[in-house]
């Protein structure tokens, strides 16, 4: 089956499936649009940092660090050492190679380019053929309500290592943000084959994207099935604070609870092959697949399974 595929994703886990989709669709490189969360973006030391866009670009370009799980492979840290020597802020790790992306992005933004334009430029330079699109060119900033009050996302995520319990999320700026035009257009295509919600954190990776005006509606009205992949396997998250957040929010740490979170949005939901198929939920078809992506082959395998699930729902 052919047609356009749109993926919604956050950082590392989502980026792996986005990479898998780009491999699965390699014969039609123009058939994949990846809409990426920018709620984690922030300014640090004067630099414009977009962690999820970077994770997706590095994954698609084959530059991801396979061990650390974030940042670039073969990274070095001399900048950070020197910065510490100057008494600079060192809570956010900036690798020497990674820094090139931050500096180049910041400089181009300062010259008036949009985040989309900068992202397109970086993708071209890195040889990425899939269309990587920020959810919006307007700033949307995820904030987290904790017992200590509202924290900026990176403050919560990196500086505080997700220690404070979460109570609520806010996507500051989302109300007035405009969806990235190509992203919205991709969701509205008539030749749409599937919309894939990647196995990213529902609260701080996927929901910021859905909070951008027009995007949730575009999913609901899409000409193709929406299929989400569980970020929860065997009662825990492979990476990141999704499971901890679910507990703190009083939710079951289960694929079923994630599927309920996406109620009214998804037609299909992929759970891991080692987990039981959840009890029926209205309008949702559950599918089992190997969702753990340890190798590039795993990424491709999951991407194919997700596309098969979507194609089956289309019928």
């Amino acid at each position: 089956m052919s047609g356009h595929v749109v993926a919604l994703c956050g950082g590392v886990g989502g980026a792996k499936l986005a990479h898998g989709l780009s491999l699965a669709l390699a014969a039609e490189p123009d058939s994949l649009s990846i809409i990426v969360n920018t709620g984690d973006d922030f300014r640090h030391l004067g630099l414009s940092i977009a962690p999820d866009l970077d994770s997706v670009m590095y994954a698609l370009a084959g530059l991801s660090d396979p061990v650390r799980g974030w940042g670039r492979r073969d990274e070095s840290w001399r900048f950070m050492e020197a910065l510490r020597g100057l008494g600079g802020e060192s809570w956010f790790q900036l690798g020497d190679g990674d820094l090139a992306v931050h500096v180049e992005r910041s400089w181009r933004l300062a010259q008036g380019a949009t985040l989309s334009e900068v992202t397109a430029h970086l993708c071209r330079a890195l040889g990425i053929t899939a269309r990587v699109l920020p959810m919006s060119d307007d700033p949307v900033r995820t904030r987290v309500l904790t017992p200590e009050g509202w924290l900026d996302f990176q403050d919560y995520f990196v500086r505080r290592q997700c220690q404070p319990a979460v109570r609520e999320f806010m996507f500051s700026g989302a109300e007035t943000a405009r969806p990235q035009p190509q992203a919205l257009a991709a969701l509205q295509r008539r030749d749409l084959r599937a919309i894939v919600i990647c196995p990213s954190n529902p609260f701080v990776s996927v929901e910021p994207i859905l909070a951008v005006p027009g995007i949730r509606l575009a999913l609901q009205q899409a000409a193709a099935p929406v299929v989400a992949v569980t970020p929860i396997i065997g009662g825990t998250a492979i990476k990141g604070p999704a499971a901890k957040m679910m507990t703190e929010l009083g939710l079951d740490v289960s694929p079923a609870a994630v599927a309920r979170r996406y109620a009214g949005l998804v037609d299909g939901f992929v759970v891991d092959q080692t987990d039981p198929v959840p009890d029926a939920q209205p309008g949702v078809t559950f599918v089992q697949a190997a969702t753990l992506m340890s190798s590039v082959e795993d990424r491709l395998g999951l991407a194919r399974a997700v596309l098969r699930a979507a194609d089956a729902l289309f019928a």
Copy 2:
């Protein structure tokens, strides 16, 4: 003899003597002020780069690269490699460690700190006790008139590798720049022991400093001798384009020609021990010394010789 010493200097060569002076005056760490050229400063990739301030700081902190002659020792270049991979501007080399200074400086300036405040902070962090002062907190930008027209200094110096012949210099912004207050106050101290013009390029390192309103006059009215050290040894410059510039400007490439350039400003002028003492010039006492600074001991030796020359002129 005690009293305050002020050095005027540019980059690498000047920084070596500034380091020597800091060693010679180590017993009275508060007795040295170093006024540094900022005419080479520029913005690159959104970063505020101050090459001469960095050269001086690295020299004083023992961080200079002894082989390359600029930048930090034990430097790595992963950022530059990654930047080239992104199609970024790569004509100006930014080492991974060096970048920490540029990022920290740029960030602090963007937050509203003055260049003096940022420099003081960096010096403190690097354990530098001498007072390192930009000539002004206002931007002064050296430009070079060539057969191709006016070029920005770094464009001429780095990108064009000093290839175009120079005809004239302009210190854009100098007319309205205010001298750095501590720099002017240091030159006006009653307990001044000496003002040292380091062996820096007269045209693009020393004269930009002298172009800041008030500084030339302060040298002329100073309570202590002004002693310059030749940047020309054996008919050539040890480093940089000084000799090439002198030829292009129709000047002799000689210590005497440099001394004439400083006419009315200097009381003493140090030539290299291997060069003949120049013919008499009104008001200038010529002194011979070992001016080639290959080792730290050379720096200290020259600093002591310069201070001796100044002290002798004081009598």
